[in-house]
């Protein structure tokens, strides 16, 4: 069964920081939940450049900026948009069921 993915509850929509990025954890894994202009998106929380927690970064509804080196990612697609960030964010498939954000991991 190892490696088999299932939908798991991550956080209730009501707990989200509106228009911002909210940290969440499942076991030891850290996630960043973005309340973007295009809807909810979820990624692994760590910057692909320097491993800082993106949940502490500046988010404008579309782009998330790393709090350590100000690398930039598109939170809707995960694409790295500005140096020093080069590698895209690892985005997690998500859905909302009965007010609960679920991730497919």
């Amino acid at each position: 069964m190892r490696g088999r993915r299932v939908w798991q509850d991550l956080m209730a929509v009501t707990e989200l920081e509106k228009g911002d990025v909210t940290p969440a954890k499942l076991g030891s894994r850290e996630f960043a939940i973005y309340d973007t202009v295009d809807g909810i998106r979820v990624s692994l929380a760590r910057c692909t450049h320097g491993a800082a927690n993106l949940c502490d970064g500046y988010f404008d509804g579309k782009f998330i900026e790393c709090p350590l080196h100000q690398g930039l990612f598109d939170a809707r697609s995960g694409e790295a948009k500005a140096a020093p960030a080069r590698k895209s964010l690892f985005m997690i498939e998500n859905r909302i069921i009965d007010g609960m954000i679920q991730v497919y991991i």
């Binding site: 900026e65 080196h69 020093p84």
Partner: protein, 325 residues
């Protein structure tokens, strides 16, 4: 996908950033932090206008003194202002001078050109300075505590600084990077840094050629001589940020905030609040005084300002030189 997720989770070992540390310490809440991070173009544009106006005023002093020996002090005063292009460039490197990202790029590149510090290269170098602040062999901007008064004055003279900068730019233009630079400059982006160094050298070459061809030496008297005359002041200021502070990771200890007068804060784009800046480098310059009030007690503050920091540095040099070998 599951295996990939596991690999990604393991590959990216978490880094405890100062900003996360500050929230864990209870120094400030996430909401306060987010508020402080809010970007705006207006404060930066107003500040830029004031900075440009100051440069015009000090430049006018040179013009008024032209043909007399008063030109030397006038160029020095203009140079003190000119070298503070660094403070603006530093703010642009963090994308915190303006809300609009491309404005930070454009103004950052202009500042880099004004003080011979290629912007893209500086961004990479500065990243590692923030990751490894004050750590030997890892912080590329680390300035060692001078071992003697002679070395202290040598550092302030800016001769070692300029020597390093000229070596750097010519090496980069030839596609060469030092082992320490190879650690922070990604392979994929080295080409762009080579081009950046070549473009900067070509532009300087073109200006020098133009000056020789037309026998018009404006850039020499309003730009290059003031830059070299003023740089020791920037060395004095840059030394106050970390020199003499412990070589440890703890942001509460390894960085110094200096309380200075309003004109110096203005020129430095509030970078005298240096410990606060290291705590949360995403906080724009105009919000640093507010962050300073929030972090009171959490960071090292030198209340006597730049002078006090140098008294501290000099006393450490004297204490060290009196120690028996």
């Amino acid at each position: 996908m599951g295996n990939q997720l596991r690999r990604e989770s393991q590959h990216n070992q978490p880094v405890l950033t100062p900003i996360t540390q500050a929230m864990q310490d209870g120094a400030l809440s996430r909401r306060e932090l987010k508020q402080l991070m809010t970007r705006s173009n207006l404060p930066g544009l107003i500040h830029l206008f004031g900075f440009a106006l100051t440069l015009i005023c000090t430049g006018s002093l040179i013009w008024l003194a032209s043909g007399t020996w008063w030109m030397v002090p006038a160029m020095f005063v203009h140079g003190i202002v000119w070298v503070h292009h660094f403070a603006l460039q530093h703010e642009c490197v963090h994308y915190t001078a303006f809300r609009t990202r491309w404005l930070n790029e454009v103004i950052g590149n202009y500042c880099g050109f004004a003080i011979l510090l290629p912007n893209r290269f500086f961004r990479y170098e500065h990243c590692d300075h923030h990751t490894y602040t004050q750590l030997h062999g890892k912080d590329p901007e680390l300035i060692e505590l001078p071992i003697s008064l002679r070395k202290y004055l040598w550092t302030i003279s800016s001769i070692p600084y300029w020597k390093q900068k000229f070596i750097e730019i010519f090496a980069h233009a030839r596609g060469r990077f030092s082992p320490i630079e190879e650690k922070f400059v990604p392979k994929e982006d080295r080409r762009s840094l080579v081009i950046e160094a070549r473009v900067m050298l070509a532009l300087f070459g073109a200006i020098v050629t133009f000056c020789i061809g037309t026998n018009w030496w404006g850039p020499l008297f309003y730009w290059w001589l003031p830059l070299f005359l003023g740089e020791p002041v920037m060395r004095i200021i840059r030394m106050t940020e970390h020199v003499g502070r412990p070589h440890i990771r703890d942001m509460k200890e390894n960085t110094r905030t200096n309380l200075v007068s309003w004109p110096m804060r203005f020129l430095a784009w509030n970078m005298n609040y240096h410990a606060e800046h290291h705590y949360a480098s995403s906080v724009p310059f105009h919000a640093l005084p507010k962050l300073h009030r929030k972090l009171e007690g959490f960071v090292h503050i030198e209340r006597r300002g730049y002078l006090g920091a140098h008294i501290d540095i000099l006393s450490q040099i004297c204490t060290r030189s009196k120690k028996p070998l």
